[in-house]
């Protein structure tokens, strides 16, 4: 236990000190890795623990991005106001959408969330045309005020990721966490023994949505320019899913390990094998599924009980 704390504290200190020693591409790579660790961890909270596969998570990333744009560029408020509003708005929308949607199961839940995200992307694109307002900028995109400090974004992402990781750790040991795991095992049985499954699912969905909203807000401010296609991009969701699965669903560290692994590996492959690296990433994914179906962390641990009934 002590060793764990020492390792934990050392890596925290190292992470905090990183921008003092590195800059440019190295810090951007670190920032992006931390961002993806956070995004995958968000996805894991509901989809990993309760096994509700969400194929539309990016919608809250996009909502957060546009809330931030409205707050910062249209209302000229500070980034911090934008960040808080992005979290609140994403969380509330998630509750409104999640309560009916979370009654669906399996592929139906997956496709419903996906459909919602795609529909909202189109709405964001069409909003100005439909309403005659010039609010979101449609396909012309939206520009943010410029902040060139790499360290600023590094620390914001670090704080967000620390936040969602802490929530995951607390969840793992709480009644909330047990409820989610019970849903994954057998939802009807969980309800039978008095678990309020609807509430647990909605909570997990809303928490991860708020964080996704904040990630969206921060990344958009960092990139300075967004379009509906870039912030509602289905590939962002796909990436979260793949990373979590590679690392191990329903574990604290799995998504983080999966995200860091996949992000850094594809970065390395990409630099060396410009034209074949996506195919190589595909092979790695196939390899992990075939040979370590519990994910990297799950396999190292020797696996956890399978949540499904049939073999």
């Amino acid at each position: 236990m002590n060793l764990r704390i020492v390792i934990g504290l050392t890596s925290c200190a190292a992470l905090i000190a990183l921008p003092l020693f590195f800059g440019g591409y190295a810090i951007r790579l670190a920032t992006l890795t931390i961002m993806w660790v956070g995004l995958a961890t968000c996805w894991n909270l509901l989809s990993g623990y309760a096994r509700y596969i969400d194929f539309g998570s990016v919608v809250y990333f996009g909502i957060g991005s546009y809330i931030a744009f409205l707050v910062m560029a249209r209302l000229e408020q500070s980034f911090w106001v934008a960040l808080i509003l992005a979290a609140v708005a994403s969380g509330l929308i998630a509750l409104a959408i999640g309560i009916p949607t979370l009654r669906l199961k399996g592929a139906y839940f997956a496709i419903a969330t996906f459909a919602f995200a795609e529909a909202l992307k189109q709405v964001a694109l069409e909003w100005d045309n439909l309403t005659g307002m010039s609010l979101l900028g449609g396909s012309h995109g939206a520009t943010f005020p410029i902040n060139t400090s790499s360290a600023f974004f590094y620390y914001v992402f670090l704080a967000l990721t620390a936040g969602i990781l802490t929530i995951t750790i607390l969840t793992e040991r709480s009644a909330f966490g047990y409820a989610l795991k019970a849903i994954a095992q057998d939802e009807d049985a969980a309800e039978g023994v008095g678990v309020n499954t609807a509430r647990a699912k909605a909570q997990a969905y809303a928490i991860s949505a708020s964080f996704l909203g904040m990630y969206g807000a921060t990344e958009s401010y960092w990139l300075t320019y967004i379009t509906p296609s870039s912030v509602f991009d289905v590939h962002i969701t796909i990436q979260m899913v793949i990373m979590t699965l590679l690392g191990g669903m329903g574990t604290v560290l799995g998504p983080a390990v999966g995200a860091a692994f996949l992000y850094l590996v594809s970065e390395m492959l990409w630099a060396r094998f410009l034209y074949v690296y996506m195919a190589m990433v595909g092979l790695i994914i196939i390899g992990v599924i075939l040979f370590m179906p519990q994910g990297i962390v799950g396999s190292l641990r020797g696996g956890f009980p399978k949540p499904h009934k049939e073999a």
Partner: protein
């Protein structure tokens, strides 16, 4: 992955030559277009290197290009520009393809004080941010399509009604705005104006609506894929207005190659054709550039390729004039940026003279038409190789 400490990089002095980084889409939605830009820069570098390289103070320095694939994604483009600058430690940058991608990348280039000249991104917004280090050899997207509209003032009988459709992404929607602006200026009646999502799989219904309004001319805000899909759908639903023009696509040789006869009569906006009286001392005349390019790649260069080459040449000329030897330091690049604002030169791509926002001076609005499988300059009249074929015959009579 190698982590490197930032700061002034005196260690690099050992390397000879100019290392030039390009973040450009090689895969993804504009991957095919991005590869043109890659070919263009490759051609420039090979030509320059065949004469020993860029000449600075009597000494020649070869050019070494580093291409990275931004996957048609703006976020990746921003990352790659930062990688090129701080990790690969390139001396210079050149711009990639696509307004969204270049948009994200130019913010990073600005931060590191690297001039970024692009020949394949022209959205108006790129010039409205007060950036000092961003340049484009193309005109603004809305102005680029002027020739496409004006060509229809030169035909008989003069069309009256125009329909405008376009993909709802940055570049193509701006092209649509340009179409509308010039159509109104020339007294055409815009009977239909609609943007459609880039993800739209089937164009038939969208074009049925246009067909119903029976416009004389259809103008399409497009890139390559959109242009091809529109032509296929028009034929399928038997929709043949008297004229059809695209903001981008038909000038790419692949367009004619793949569509064959169906590409005939199609008009496209351009900023360059090989018959224009442009020249420089690297490639010779526009026609020479065209010929050499064809020898190297087996196809004619598109105007985006000519514009990319033009940007590379402008950067080269300023470096030679200022005598900036590699490795370039920050003050060299600041000088380069200032030097770029001062040039007013002729290249085989045409005149290059950047205004305060970094946009190139207006080029004469050119329109080309596919005639017998070749893009032919049809407008303006003084540069035209042939008169425009108008009206376009119905599909069933071809």
């Amino acid at each position: 992955m190698t982590l490197t400490v930032t700061g002034p990089c005196a260690l690099w002095a050992a390397e000879k030559g100019f290392k030039i980084g390009v973040s450009v889409a090689l895969t993804g939605i504009v991957g095919a277009d991005g590869r043109l830009v890659k070919d263009a820069y490759t051609f420039w570098a090979e030509t320059v290197n065949s004469r020993g390289g860029i000449e600075v103070k009597g000494k020649k320095y070869p050019v070494d290009l580093v291409f990275l694939d931004d996957k048609s994604t703006p976020a990746v483009s921003a990352k790659l520009i930062e990688k090129l600058i701080t990790d690969d430690k390139v001396d210079l940058l050149l711009g990639g393809f696509g307004s969204e991608q270049v948009f994200a990348g130019s913010a990073v280039a600005e931060k590191y004080k690297y001039p970024l000249i692009s020949g394949a991104a022209s959205s108006n917004k790129l010039f409205e941010r007060g950036f000092k280090y961003y340049f484009s050899t193309l005109g603004r997207a809305t102005e680029e399509v002027r020739g496409c509209v004006e060509v229809f003032t030169s035909v008989e009988p003069r069309p009256r009604t125009i329909a405008i459709v376009g993909a709802n992404i940055l570049f193509t929607s701006l092209a649509c705005e340009g179409f509308r602006k010039y159509a109104k200026e020339h007294g055409f009646d815009v009977v239909h104006y609609e943007l459609f999502p880039i993800d739209l799989q089937d164009y038939n219904s969208m074009l049925l609506k246009v067909k119903e309004k029976n416009p004389d001319v259809l103008l399409v805000g497009s890139h390559m894929l959109v242009a091809m899909k529109v032509v296929k759908a028009m034929k399928e639903i038997d929709f043949a207005p008297r004229g059809v023009a695209f903001s981008y696509g038909p000038t790419v040789p692949k367009f004619v190659e793949e569509l064959g006869k169906d590409a005939e009569y199609v008009i496209a906006a351009s900023e360059w054709t090989p018959n224009l009286p442009y020249k420089d001392d690297i490639f010779g005349t526009a026609a020479d550039l065209n010929r050499k390019y064809k020898e190297r790649f087996g196809r004619q260069p598109d105007f985006v390729e000519a514009a990319s080459i033009g940007g590379a040449v402008a950067q080269q000329k300023v470096i030679e004039k200022l005598g900036l030897a590699p490795p370039l330091r920050e003050e060299d690049r600041v000088a380069l940026m200032k030097g770029l604002y001062e040039i007013d030169m002729m290249t085989s791509f045409g005149r290059i003279h950047f205004d305060q926002t970094g946009a190139n001076v207006d080029h004469p609005p050119v329109a080309v038409q596919i005639q017998k499988g070749k893009p032919v300059n049809v407008y303006p009249a003084d540069a035209a190789e042939a008169p425009p074929l108008y009206p376009m015959p119905p599909w069933k009579k071809r």
